[in-house]
């Protein structure tokens, strides 16, 4: 067992992060945008875990718990907003939903 280099773990996190970013920038459907956000958050969590295991510090895993909490909160609020928008506009296309009122 030679072990996994820390860089590889981080590069995996970066690749996932950039994929999420591309999804965020390209997709017009709000559902996909939310999922891209989840991917990005997840990649951040991965980076924390890599750090935690690399230096055998529990703080990294504690941070991971917080990231999950944040992801849960974000997903619930984002999905609730999405439901409302869908009921109002009958679409999830962000290009259509670009007007603020009030």
């Amino acid at each position: 067992m030679t072990g996994i280099p820390v860089e590889h773990g981080l590069i995996l996190a970066v690749i996932l992060f950039c994929l999420g970013l591309v999804g965020l920038m390209l997709r017009r459907n709000m559902l996909f945008v939310l999922m891209s956000l989840e991917v990005m958050l997840n990649s951040a969590a991965l980076a924390f875990i890599v750090g935690a295991t690399a230096w055998s510090q529990p703080e990294g895993q504690a941070m991971f718990l917080l990231v999950i909490t944040l992801a849960a909160a974000e997903a619930s609020v984002g999905l609730a907003l999405m439901i409302q928008l869908y009921q109002r506009f009958r679409t999830l296309d962000l290009n259509v939903i670009n007007r603020m009122r009030g």
């Binding site: 970013l21 459907n29 909160a73 619930s76």
Partner: protein, 171 residues
């Protein structure tokens, strides 16, 4: 262990590509679950079984179920093919940007002196708990408040609007 790490890492990347390019919401959600599972396997491979378990239970379990529920509730059909989607003019810019970012980040990581390897030694849940409920207690409380706030917000924003409300309510 290395094999598990690289394999599941590859699966995670491929599944994520599936998420961001797919047009069927249900398929995309499933891809995302696969991706999260793969990341959980990565955690196991890295020697963080507690985090991996949480990833599967909370992320792939609870949060993704929420997505599935919403997709079912709104009865979303597959996206109508986006006309400009396939056109390079549409995706070239953002993709290039992301690629540049990727290269920059990888370069930065390569320049770094992290240097070590992960041997996969276990970090037990006990150590994490001691950290969390010891010096990090306040952060846990804040996280709890955050969840409560999210709960209230979601239940307020997500309620079905009566006809009376539709006219001038907030949002």
């Amino acid at each position: 262990m290395e094999l598990a790490f690289y394999l599941s890492g590859l699966v995670a990347v491929l599944a994520t590509v599936g998420v961001i390019t797919g047009s069927n919401p249900v398929h995309a959600v499933v891809y995302l679950i696969v991706s999260l599972m793969a990341v959980a396997l990565v955690f196991f491979a890295l020697g963080a079984p507690f985090a991996g378990a949480l990833e599967i239970i909370v992320y792939a379990g609870a949060i993704m179920v929420l997505f599935v529920f919403v997709v079912m509730m709104l009865n979303l059909r597959p996206d109508e093919p986006e006309q400009a989607w396939t056109h390079p003019r549409y995706w070239a810019g953002p993709s290039l940007l992301a690629l540049v970012l990727l290269v920059a980040l990888v370069t930065l990581i390569g320049q770094g002196e992290a240097g070590g390897t992960i041997e996969g030694e276990l970090l037990t849940a006990r150590a994490i708990a001691l950290t969390l409920f010891g010096p990090w207690l306040m952060v846990v409380e804040l996280a709890a408040i955050l969840l409560l706030a999210a709960l209230v917000t979601a239940s307020h924003v997500g309620r079905r609007r009566s006809a009376r409300d539709t006219r001038g309510g907030a949002l």
